[in-house]
């Protein structure tokens, strides 16, 4: 039973990890919270699940969802972020929020507000693992997450694009002055981030065996907490924070105290924000060394 819950927790955590990575890509590079990610995630889920219901395989559904969400993320970047990149951070925050309102409305109108269910045959298919068993769909969640994280790792660590992204994340000001091709990198960051969110959407559909237009907000906020707890510009902390919070969530749903759990998660997030004067997050408080 406990093992079973751990597996459920891991799959949920895998999804949190992916969305947190999605938030963190844009956050780390631009210092902007792209609130549209929550709904790009939801839309990705709808695209993927629709394909699966039509009988296509996971290997088509996930890339298709990634493509759709990736492209939409670029639209968000062009319309809602780029014209406001010099404005106070509250502006892109709200303009990306505006997009998420639009996306949610579109989803409700296209797919209705009732959940879109995964076919029972798929949702119930299980692979036995001794005392516990793992759903085929859960297995898919973990496999896809691992593949995507590895792919992201390769992109970030050993491609020219990745080096550019890291340089900007390291020090936005310096990178701008040194003339990192900011515009192209920005687009790339949004696209990558969007496609991760899209994939995560399909996976959350697998996890719950259904998707609703409202899955974005709750999961999205949680993922922001995961990003912060894992360290918002360092990508790898999220790999630990995501599964941890996922497992904690599933266990607390089963054994009670889910409200306490949320308080702990967000409390942890606030604590991390407060305790890292600059470190992982960079510039979250006023350093004494600021030139006067």
């Amino acid at each position: 039973m406990l093992l079973q819950q751990l597996i459920n927790g891991l799959t949920l955590g895998a999804v949190y990890t992916l969305i947190a990575l999605s938030f963190s890509l844009v956050m780390g590079i631009l210092g902007v919270l792209n609130l549209a990610i929550a709904e790009l995630f939801m839309l990705g889920g709808y695209c993927g699940l629709t394909l699966i219901i039509m009988g296509h395989s996971v290997w088509l559904a996930v890339p298709a969802a990634m493509a759709v969400s990736g492209v939409l993320a670029v639209v968000v970047e062009r319309v809602a972020y780029r014209p406001l990149r010099d404005a106070p951070m509250i502006m892109p925050l709200l303009s990306t929020l505006a997009f998420s309102i639009i996306f949610q409305n579109v989803a409700v109108n296209v797919w209705g507000s009732d959940p879109l269910q995964l076919p029972d045959a798929l949702a119930d298919a299980r692979l036995s693992l001794g005392t516990a068993s793992i759903g085929i769909m859960q297995l898919a969640v973990i496999v896809v997450t691992v593949l995507l994280v590895v792919a992201l790792g390769v992109i970030v660590q050993s491609t020219k694009l990745g080096r550019g992204l890291r340089a900007v994340a390291e020090n936005r000001e310096v990178a701008r002055i040194l003339g990192a091709p900011a515009s192209r990198l920005t687009t790339a960051a949004f696209a990558l981030s969007g496609s991760l969110a899209g994939a995560a959407g399909v996976l959350i559909g697998f996890h719950y065996a259904a998707i609703t237009p409202y899955v974005g907000v709750d999961t999205g906020l949680k993922a922001i907490a995961v990003m912060v707890v894992g360290g918002s510009t360092r990508i790898w902390g999220v790999l630990i924070a995501g599964p941890l919070i996922g497992v904690a969530e599933v266990l607390s749903v089963v054994y009670g105290g889910s409200a306490i759990r949320d308080m702990v998660v967000y409390g942890l997030m606030i604590l991390v924000l407060l305790l890292r004067p600059q470190g992982v997050l960079g510039g979250s408080s006023m350093p004494e060394g600021e030139r006067v």
């Binding site: 997009f99 949320d262 967000y266």
Partner: protein, 279 residues
């Protein structure tokens, strides 16, 4: 006035207070994405004080405002360590924490919510909203408000010319939270029923929108923003199911073409300057 119009008008009054609560905090350069939490505290407290303790509503609202304000001061201190988006995320976390707290807090009904509040008149709601609006408008004409703006413009320089930036920022948080607390109490009485889901992230964001759309440099900005945003769904009714999408698109347009909000300080400058220069 039809009950329908009265209902809308009450909504505007409460929304205005929500907007003002964000406005006051934002005036010192701090963005709070957690003001719904202060509203929740005010709502539950005012309701409990009247329903359980039998206090008159006005007294309960005052106490609710004070308690929320006190909580705001408590939140304001750690907030000093954070800036910009990090402060926004931390306040977001605070909002979600508070919501989870009420979900689990049995005496307040937990997820089932809390009821027992009697109806209040729109006039009563507006008596509060209008007086607090006037209060903020007057405050805007005080020297203290210049201190707020100095902190917003350049905190370091403000500190170095002798302004106690800690007190100013924490004070603004407390004042904003107090206004949100009153808004919460009125909201509870207007709705007759409250539950934690009413005080989530959406609500916090809504309050920020009133300010940013209406204008974040003058207190009438939130008034305009609240009015527009409450009435907009009515205007967009003809779009039926696409109302929200249209709203999102409008929001983007305003942000792109009128960053400072619909009203800004420049429109009022002539007026306030003369007052300064002639004592």
């Amino acid at each position: 006035m039809s009950t329908y119009a009265a209902g809308l008008s009450a909504d505007i009054g409460i929304a205005l207070l929500g907007g003002l609560s964000v406005y006051v905090i934002l005036a010192t350069g701090q963005l709070s994405l957690g003001n719904a939490a202060f509203m929740a505290v005010g709502a539950y407290l005012a309701s409990a004080l009247t329903v359980y303790a039998g206090l008159p509503l006005t007294a309960a609202l005052m106490l609710a405002g004070l308690a929320s304000g006190f909580l705001g001061v408590l939140v304001g201190f750690p907030a000093l360590r954070l800036r910009g988006i990090y402060l926004a995320m931390a306040t977001l976390g605070f909002g979600e924490m508070t919501r989870s707290f009420f979900l689990d807090f049995a005496p307040a009904g937990g997820a089932g919510g809390f009821r027992g509040m009697g109806p209040v008149s729109t006039a009563y709601i507006w008596a509060w909203s209008a007086s607090l609006l006037v209060g903020v408008v007057l405050l805007e004409r005080s020297r203290l408000w210049l201190e707020f703006r100095a902190v917003n413009d350049d905190e370091r320089a403000a500190d170095l010319i002798g302004l106690n930036t800690t007190a100013i920022k924490v004070g603004a948080f407390g004042l904003g939270a107090a206004i949100a607390g009153v808004a919460g109490g009125l909201f509870a009485y207007h709705q007759l029923y409250i539950e934690p889901g009413m005080f989530g992230f959406d609500r916090s964001i809504e309050m920020v929108l009133y300010v940013v759309l209406g204008g974040s440099t003058v207190a009438v900005g939130p008034l305009l923003g609240a009015t527009l945003l409450v009435l907009l769904p009515e205007f967009l009714r003809f779009l039926a199911d696409w109302r929200l999408a249209a709203f999102g698109a409008l929001l983007i347009l305003v942000l792109l073409f009128r960053r400072q909000g619909i009203i800004d300080r420049g429109m009022f400058r002539g007026l306030s300057r003369r007052k300064w220069a002639t004592p």
